[in-house]
């Protein structure tokens, strides 16, 4: 591929890293995304609106602020960061895992909303039917609700992935811009835009980023179509 030769090793690293970070962010936040969507769609508990607000925060806050808050919480000295590092050996600071965390959090409101919309559209009578057939609530969820909300889950995943491919404000503020470790494509692109004459480089990387995202998007659409057919939509 001619791209390979056009890209510097650092840029090539950024491409690989971005895909890794976006994929991990998307997959790792999925269980929490589904759980949160479920809580928000179905739960009737105190603090529901608080949770809802919290989920939306990364959307509302300028990414720099989110990044800074992440730094305070999940940094080496942050309460969550030091706890996780001590007890689970999970370190975010200046690691690609931190980039994934930042991307996951930035994409979280989008993922949750998509899944939640799907959950709210589920015909609860089908869940009742599953219950009378002997399925407890976990099984009902796994065998009925989950398959029915697949379109929403797919939409949530692609939104999260796409957001991760474009996110850099929170990432760079949280875990810096270390080539090979935390320098994702958007960070690299941003750097290019900040130097006179960097437009060509920015454009090149942007095109790569677009190509990757569009491939993911096409994949997701194909998956959604298959799911849609399975659900018998016209």
């Amino acid at each position: 591929m001619s791209w390979l030769t056009v890209l510097t090793p650092d840029e090539w690293n950024a491409v690989r890293l971005s895909v890794k970070v976006a994929t991990v962010a998307m997959l790792a936040s999925l269980p929490a995304g589904i759980a949160t969507a479920l809580l928000l769609a179905r739960g009737r508990f105190w603090g529901r609106e608080l949770l809802n607000g919290l989920v939306h925060l990364p959307l509302v806050l300028p990414p720099v602020v989110t990044g800074y808050l992440l730094l305070l919480a999940f940094g080496r000295q942050g309460p969550a960061g030091s706890f996780l590092a001590e007890h689970f050996g999970i370190v975010f600071s200046f690691r690609w895992t931190g980039a994934a965390l930042a991307c996951a959090i930035m994409g979280f409101p989008l993922m949750v909303r998509a899944i939640r919309l799907s959950i709210e559209a589920v015909d609860r009578k089908l869940e009742q039917a599953a219950g009378t057939l002997g399925a407890n609530s976990v099984w009902v969820f796994v065998t009925v609700t989950l398959p029915l909300i697949l379109p929403g889950i797919i939409a949530g995943m692609i939104l999260s992935f796409a957001k991760a491919m474009g996110e850099f404000g929170a990432t760079i503020t949280f875990v810096s811009n270390i080539p090979g470790e935390t320098q994702t494509l958007p960070s690299a692109i941003y750097t290019f835009t900040q130097v006179p004459g960097g437009d060509a480089g920015a454009l090149r990387l942007t095109l790569i980023s677009i190509t990757i995202s569009m491939t993911a998007l096409l994949l997701s659409e194909a998956m959604a179509r298959r799911v849609g057919q399975r659900l018998g939509a016209a």
């Binding site: 080496r76 503020t173 810096s176 835009t193 900040q194 006179p196």
Partner: protein, 239 residues
């Protein structure tokens, strides 16, 4: 002009906000009203001016973006002035025991331990560029090149140090002075890098006499205390 009123519009590097707001306030009487100051990164501002932004004055955080506009005749060459200077320092979290005498070959890597050196992005952020130049000059670059934590801007680099995320960082003296979470470990010697200069100029599109007045006022001695209070050195001299 596309702007709604005829206030002077100043495009200035974001790091100057505190000082420039005060200067703007002080100059209001002289100019006949406060200017509107749009703070953003120098690159964004330069490109906006290139695309017809209604700015009267441009203050860049480095010479490169000013040169970019001057090469395109977007600023009045005669008005380009080196307004302020700054210096870069090595900082550590305030409770750090680190001490350093910054000179050629000192053991920066040893001081870092297994931590990272926070710095502005070394190709795009002015403070990062100066920092890199200084490190190269002092022969330290190769020992820390892969130990950097580059930030989107110098403030973010400072945050890395202030939160203890990075044990050391290279930032402007002006920033270090105002951040209680860090202490200055050492100052990079003059001559270890290009002079740090914030140039100011009137744009070619600006025909407002108030803008000239504003520029003069901002570059005048009466503004000096405001700059110095924020840790800048005042240069004042045509280039």
């Amino acid at each position: 002009q596309a702007k709604a009123d005829d206030r002077v519009i100043v495009f200035a590097a974001a790091s100057m906000k505190t000082a420039l707001d005060a200067v703007n306030h002080a100059c209001a009487a002289e100019v006949g009203g406060e200017a509107s100051i749009s703070y953003a990164s120098s690159s964004a501002l330069a490109k906006q001016i290139e695309n017809g932004a209604p700015a009267d004055i441009f203050i860049s955080a480095d010479l490169a973006w000013m040169a970019y506009l001057r090469d395109r005749n977007l600023v009045k060459a005669g008005t380009v002035t080196e307004l302020l200077g700054n210096s870069i320092v090595l900082v550590a979290p305030k409770d750090s025991a680190a001490e350093a005498d910054i000179r050629e070959g000192f053991d920066l890597a040893g001081l870092l331990g297994d931590g990272r050196l926070a710095i502005g992005e070394v190709t795009s952020v002015p403070a990062g560029k100066y920092g890199r130049e200084a490190l190269e000059k002092l022969g330290l670059w190769s020992s820390v090149a892969d130990r950097l934590a580059q930030a989107e801007n110098v403030r973010a680099a400072l945050k890395f140090v202030a939160t203890g995320e990075a044990p050391l960082g290279i930032v402007y003296a002006s920033d270090a002075a105002a951040e209680p979470g860090v202490k200055v470990v050492g100052t990079f010697p003059e001559g270890s890098h290009q002079p740090i200069i914030y140039p100011i100029a009137q744009t070619s599109a600006s025909s407002s006499p108030e803008a000239e007045v504003w520029l003069k006022c901002a570059a005048s001695a009466s503004a000096t205390p405001f700059y110095e209070e924020q840790g800048f050195t005042v240069l004042g001299g045509e280039k």
